[in-house]
């Protein structure tokens, strides 16, 4: 009976601790922008503390101290997050637990657990963004935690750091084909259960309520909202109005969605039929997750493919909040539609006695210009001719009649101010109107042939109902600052210098410098390709992929294909691993022949040891089979000459002759 247990030493060495700290830095770094800053500070403190303990400068913290630190930091964390329970706070709490775990990292057991936590924390980074660069960072950082695992396993002793890294990233490269196979073939399906944790951050520059005058500085963000590829002709820049929300109710300070509008936004309209003559644009949208149900499209949009649907108001809506990048295709189809009398009431109502000066002004103007189209033009001319200014840092509006204050007094504001005022004036003049929120413009990436729309392109405008033309877009901002809709917000505020003023680190801010423009353009292009081809590989793309290569497949077939292809890859990898052994075993033909002869003799009852020289083996063999003496001598002398010759192996001719001799050998007792 021999021993069958594998016992390991529980101790942890310095090297392991150092690599643990490195991987902690990498994993915490992946979350620097969505956990409280003090949490990262605490992680640094715990690294420092653990190092001092390791050096023996400070005593190891007792259970009481550790427990105290845990309670204090947890309570502090709950307070600093106002006890919200979202994805961000959960990740933050995980970071906290992770930093605390470092304090009691004493044994191999803890170290393994810690490494697993590192890997999990790294992968949670993808909850927030899945861009190419974040993906690269996370995968490289995972390599670092594999090195840490090797250090824990004491596999680094005799190897240099360079060789270790080469080994780890080499094995990651070997793992890549298997990863690709699983990524392609693993059947995609919907969530198994609804996750209780939702993300608190809305990654969008849009809001469901619009109250101009509330903020003195428009918060801008250089983040991407979505990308568009046009199949066929592109619209002019000034027609790029990406509609998302209809705000139809004004309560005196802000514009909101009424309940009837909210309900209407949930209704699906029919999908487009055959292509028609009126169809103008055909484009695909690659949407970044923004945690809302909204999609974005130009006027008269009909969703042709993808998860979302079109509402009767030609808006794009998803069934669920968008939590991962989504793709859909839209075509434009103008369609006659009617508004019921009830709807008109909704688009014409104003709160009683609100903004009396403006209302009075509108009524008077309507009396002199009864034609709705002319009326609109007149108002726009006023915006254009009078000293109205487009600015991203307007004065706050404090009076209860904000529109009056803006329209007659301050006269400085951005799209929300103008849209709000315009819609109000139209309603006061008995022209049904509604405020539209969405994005305007975008940035062309000529290399990729797509348009990128950023958060700072967020815009608000107005639609007015003209009985003979239906809903007509009216953009008062265009009257005030034509550059805003002709070439984008950057040019509109170029003099003011307020573009992305709150985010000095944003690359987009420096896009007027040639090199930066070139770099952002190229990075954007790579990122787009990544999102389009890799991240966006979803159920739909997968089924079309399967259809192309394997015909119609149900879940069972898909799983079988997955298993089959994975096995094939694994087989190839295994054969590569076994190649060295196979070659070694094969060795030189003379040696093989000799071995096989000994094996044969062993089977016949002559127990020969592999360590014996041919001479010794011969003596034993002759003793056993005296009759074959002559042949045995001949064979063994041939072996002796060839096995130990410098040009070991002998000519194929000799091997053949020897084989023949061996065949003649009759090893019968």
């Amino acid at each position: 009976m021999f021993k069958r247990s594998f016992d390991e030493s529980p101790a942890l060495d310095t090297r392991a601790l150092v690599w643990m700290v490195f991987s902690l830095a990498a994993a915490a770094g992946a979350h620097w922008n969505h956990v409280p800053v003090w949490l990262l500070g605490f992680a640094c403190v715990s690294v420092f503390w653990r190092t001092r303990v390791y050096q023996g400068k400070w005593p190891a913290p007792s259970t009481w101290v550790k427990g105290g630190v845990m309670v204090v930091t947890s309570v502090a964390y709950v307070f600093s997050t106002q006890a919200q329970f979202t994805v961000e706070t959960a990740v933050g709490f995980f970071v906290l637990a992770y930093a605390l775990k470092l304090l009691e990292l004493n044994q191999r057991r803890d170290a393994f657990l810690f490494s697993f936590m590192t890997l999990f924390l790294l992968c949670l980074g993808f909850l927030f963004t899945q861009s190419l660069f974040v993906s690269l960072y996370i995968f490289i950082a995972m390599g670092l935690s594999f090195v840490a695992l090797m250090a824990v396993n004491q596999s680094l002793k005799s190897r240099s750091i360079g060789a270790t890294f080469k080994g780890v990233y080499g094995s990651m490269a070997v793992a890549a084909p298997l990863l690709i196979v699983m990524y392609l073939f693993f059947p995609r399906f919907g969530p198994l259960w609804a996750m209780p944790l939702k993300s608190s951050t809305a990654f969008t520059g849009l809001d469901e309520t619009m109250s101009p005058g509330d903020v003195a500085n428009l918060a801008q963000s250089g983040e991407r909202a979505f990308r568009i590829v046009f199949n066929g002709p592109r619209p002019a820049y000034r027609d790029l109005y990406w509609r998302a929300l209809i705000l139809d109710r004004y309560d005196g300070t802000s514009w909101k969605r009424s309940f009837s509008q909210t309900n209407r936004d949930r209704q699906g309209a029919v999908r487009p039929g055959a292509r028609t003559q009126t169809e103008q644009w055909d484009y695909e949208v690659l949407l970044e997750p923004h945690n809302r149900e909204w999609g974005f499209a130009l006027d008269d949009a009909k969703v042709a493919r993808g998860a979302p649907f079109s509402t009767p108001d030609q808006l794009v809506r998803f069934m669920r909040d968008v939590k991962s990048p989504e793709w859909y295709r839209v075509i434009n189809q103008a369609e006659e539609y009617r508004e019921s009398a009830q709807s008109f009431a909704r688009f014409s109502s104003l709160p009683q006695g609100s903004n009396p000066r403006t209302a009075e002004w509108a009524k008077q103007l309507r009396e002199t210009t009864p034609d709705a189209g002319t009326f609109i033009k007149t108002v726009l001319t006023r915006f254009n001719q009078e000293p109205y200014a487009y600015t991203l840092s307007p004065p706050l509006l404090t009076s209860p009649n904000r529109i009056d204050e803006f329209f007659f007094d301050t006269r400085r504001g951005f799209c929300e101010h103008y849209a709000s005022t315009m819609a109000f004036i139209l309603r006061a003049a008995n022209i049904p109107s509604r405020v539209l929120a969405g994005y305007q413009g975008g940035e062309w990436n000529e290399q990729g042939g797509f348009l990128v729309v950023h958060q700072y392109d967020a815009h608000a405008w107005v639609e007015a109902w003209l009985p003979e033309r239906g809903w007509v877009r009216v953009d008062p901002t265009a009257a005030v600052a034509p550059q805003r809709v002709e070439s984008g917000i950057r040019d509109a505020v170029a003099e003011e210098g307020t573009f992305l003023q709150n985010t000095p680190l944003s690359l987009a801010r420096y896009n007027h410098i040639g090199v930066f423009a070139w770099a952002t353009n190229n990075l954007e292009y790579m990122n787009y390709m990544w999102q389009k081809w890799v991240v966006n590989y979803d159920q739909e793309k997968q089924s079309s992929f399967f259809k192309r290569w394997f015909g119609d497949s149900d879940m069972k077939t898909m799983l079988m294909i997955l298993a089959g292809v994975s096995m094939m890859v694994f087989l190839v990898l295994s054969l590569l691993t076994l190649k060295a052994e196979w070659r070694r075993n094969k060795g030189d033909p003379m040696v093989r022949l000799y071995r096989s002869l000994l094996n044969r003799m062993n089977k016949k009852g002559l127990l020969l040891d592999a360590g014996l020289t041919p001479g010794q083996a011969l003596a034993l063999a002759i003793k056993k089979w005296p009759r074959q003496r002559k042949l045995l001598r001949q064979i063994f002398s041939e072996f002796e000459q060839n096995l130990y010759a410098d040009d070991a192996g002998g000519s194929p001719d000799r091997v053949r002759r020897l084989k023949r001799d061996i065949k003649q050998l009759a090893l019968n007792p």
Binding site: S5, S155, V535, A580, E581, D609
Partner: protein, 330 residues
């Protein structure tokens, strides 16, 4: 059996199944002089951390599915792939390893015997392995490409005679501790274990002596009975050299003592009639060691065998070997 702390880890299978595995391994891997590890001899299983790693991958996949997040799914697949690659690396690390038993120094019972093994990695790569019989004796080796290393594994001797620790474990969790690759090899390692020297020995001498004078003092008297000097013959105990003379003349002389009438330097197995055999051998052993230390030439008489008189390490080992092998010493 071992003093080391036993951990609950790895595959400890007892009872029926354990015996079955023993038999199967015995048949599959018969004892050899030199073992080259190949697919026949290498076994691979995940460690508990490997199982944990797979569970982590599963958790990540669940997260990816429920949040409909492609890249989290990719991480899950990636961890599974890394696990698979680890299996291959673990195998490759062991494959082609050549191990042979080199030698073992003899030792006294209850001491640690050192077994020397020669281990060399295959031409295609370096290796990190542990080998040994019991957990507290595991030796970790880091082998370079084509490099040969000597591993000395200590094993506690329990009994006098030939010690054959038997099947040894060659194992490794390289690279990340997720996968354990191992092999069991019986390399015919053996060491000769001398009896443990008795702690409070009651020396007796040859029967003839015991009848004549008192107990064993005579040889000490005899030693002090200085007779003269003669030229030193290499091999004689150093304690006999006349160092003063050497200091004066620069030549080595041995002190000659008058031979006592009786022959006190014969250590005799038969002198300890009626004693329990192991104790008897222990006492003989202690006697040999004492005389060897004093530098007195001595001989050993065993039933049907005698050696000596003489002194020196070689002589001592010859006598101790006879004790160790008793009753097969002839």
């Amino acid at each position: 059996m071992t003093t080391g702390i036993r951990q609950k880890s790895g595959a400890r299978i007892g009872g029926q199944l354990g015996r079955r595995i023993d038999k199967w391994v015995e048949k599959r891997l018969p004892p050899v002089e030199e073992a080259t590890l190949s697919h026949r001899a290498i076994f691979v299983l995940p460690t508990r951390w490997g199982v944990g790693f797979l569970m982590l991958a599963g958790l990540i996949l669940l997260t990816g599915i429920n949040y409909q997040n492609s890249m989290i799914l990719a991480v899950g697949f990636f961890l599974i792939s890394i696990f698979v690659v680890n299996i291959l690396i673990a195998y490759r690390n062991m494959s082609g390893l050549v191990i042979r038993f080199h030698r073992a120094a003899s030792c006294f019972s209850d001491e640690l015997a050192g077994f020397e093994f020669l281990v060399s990695a295959s031409e295609h790569g370096a290796a990190t392995v542990q080998l040994g019989w019991t957990p507290d004796s595991y030796v970790t080796l880091d082998l370079d490409q084509n490099g040969q290393r000597r591993a000395v594994i200590e094993y506690r001797c329990r009994k006098r005679g030939w010690l054959t620790p038997g099947r040894m474990l060659i194992t490794s969790t390289y690279p990340m501790g997720l996968i354990r690759a191992w092999s069991w090899q019986d390399l015919n390692a053996k060491a000769l274990v001398y009896p443990r020297p008795a702690t409070q020995p009651q020396f007796k001498w040859s029967a003839s002596l015991a009848e004549g004078e008192g107990k064993g003092d005579s040889h000490i008297v005899g030693q002090e009975d200085f007779a003269g000097l003669r030229t030193y013959v290499p091999g004689e105990p150093l304690t006999r050299i006349a160092w003063k003379k050497y200091a004066q003349q620069g030549e080595l002389y041995s002190k000659e003592f008058s031979q006592p009438e009786l022959d006190p330097d014969w250590i005799d197995f038969d002198a300890y009639q009626g004693m329990e055999t192991e104790l008897r051998l222990s006492t003989l052993c202690a006697q040999i060691l004492e005389l060897e230390q004093k530098g007195t030439p001595y001989g050993l008489r065993m039933p049907g065998w005698a050696c000596g008189p003489g002194s020196g390490l070689e002589h001592r080992n010859k006598c101790l070997t006879a004790l160790a092998k008793y009753p097969d010493h002839v």
